[in-house]
Amino acid sequence: MVDYLWNTQSPLQKALVPGRHGAAGAHVGVTLNEVRDIVLVQVMARRGKAADAAKAAKKLFGIEAPATPKAVTGKTATLIWSGPDQFTVIAPRTDEASQLAAMVQVFAGSASLSDQSDGRCLIRVSGPRGRDAIAKFSSLDLHDLAFPVGAAANTSVDHTAVNLWREANGADGHPVYNMLVFTSFADSLWHTVVDSSLEYGVEAASARAA
């Protein structure tokens, strides 16, 4: 019998090379982070139970689940709209089993849950030129008026489904965008993002979700 060693690794194990890339100089235009150790659950309200699911989300997370393409951040989790009567819950991984158990309990009967924690890869794009880099491969209008803090979108990048949302501006005052992508497409998307960012100077790293 073969003994398997289940070696868990990042989908960006090969693609992500930490450090400085692209345009030389002291100035970093785009900061790219792979955000690791997340708990990610897709919540889809059952037929006729959309209001109950929203109530359950409010009870567990203390925030209103988004009914339009928005990302709402509470104390313990961020809820990202992902379609009519469905949203994605993302939280830093603390104790995954109890985090999931709490959701199973509160959404029982009102929504179907699907654990995507290891199914998606989260890439965070920030820095003064982050928006310019994304604009090269996304057809979304990312202007402050069209895509302000808290805006979210399900969209296609390079024929790949991506959940994109904008969180609060970084400490440098520049926008911060999050991109959720299927793990098997993460490598490809990462290269797209890096290639778009090279001319601005890139700082790449892998970080734990906080």
């Binding site: 059952r46 379609g83 979108a153 399900n154 969209t155 489904a161």
Partner: protein, 102 residues
């Protein structure tokens, strides 16, 4: 061509897939309706195969697979590609129950 998804807003047409005419309704015969087998066959033949070739506005199914993954019904002018309206197809989302025959 840009399509205004009622959920996501205006997006490029590459995110959408076209299905076709949204007007045919599936024939629905009661067991004892008295309809002849030929009549039933004709009705289904019409429903499955026969389509109008409209020059102007027609109701069409579009699927927003590159976005919210919802089926939509759009009124599009086949001559100018102008969209008059885009609405959710019946049964999209969990809020409304699906009507029989939709």
């Amino acid at each position: 061509m840009r399509i205004a998804c009622p959920f996501c807003g205006e997006r490029e047409n590459g995110e959408f897939t076209y299905l076709g005419d949204a007007s045919p309704k599936r024939p629905n015969f009661a067991v004892d309706s008295g309809e002849s087998p030929e009549g039933v066959e004709d009705a289904f033949y019409d429903y499955v195969y026969l389509r109008d070739n409209v020059a102007g506005y027609m109701r069409e199914y579009w699927y927003h697979g590159g976005g919210c993954r919802s089926w939509l019904i759009a009124e599009r002018n086949t001559v100018t590609h102008e969209f008059r309206s885009v609405t959710a197809a019946p049964g999209v989302g969990a809020a409304k129950p699906v009507q029989a025959g939709e």
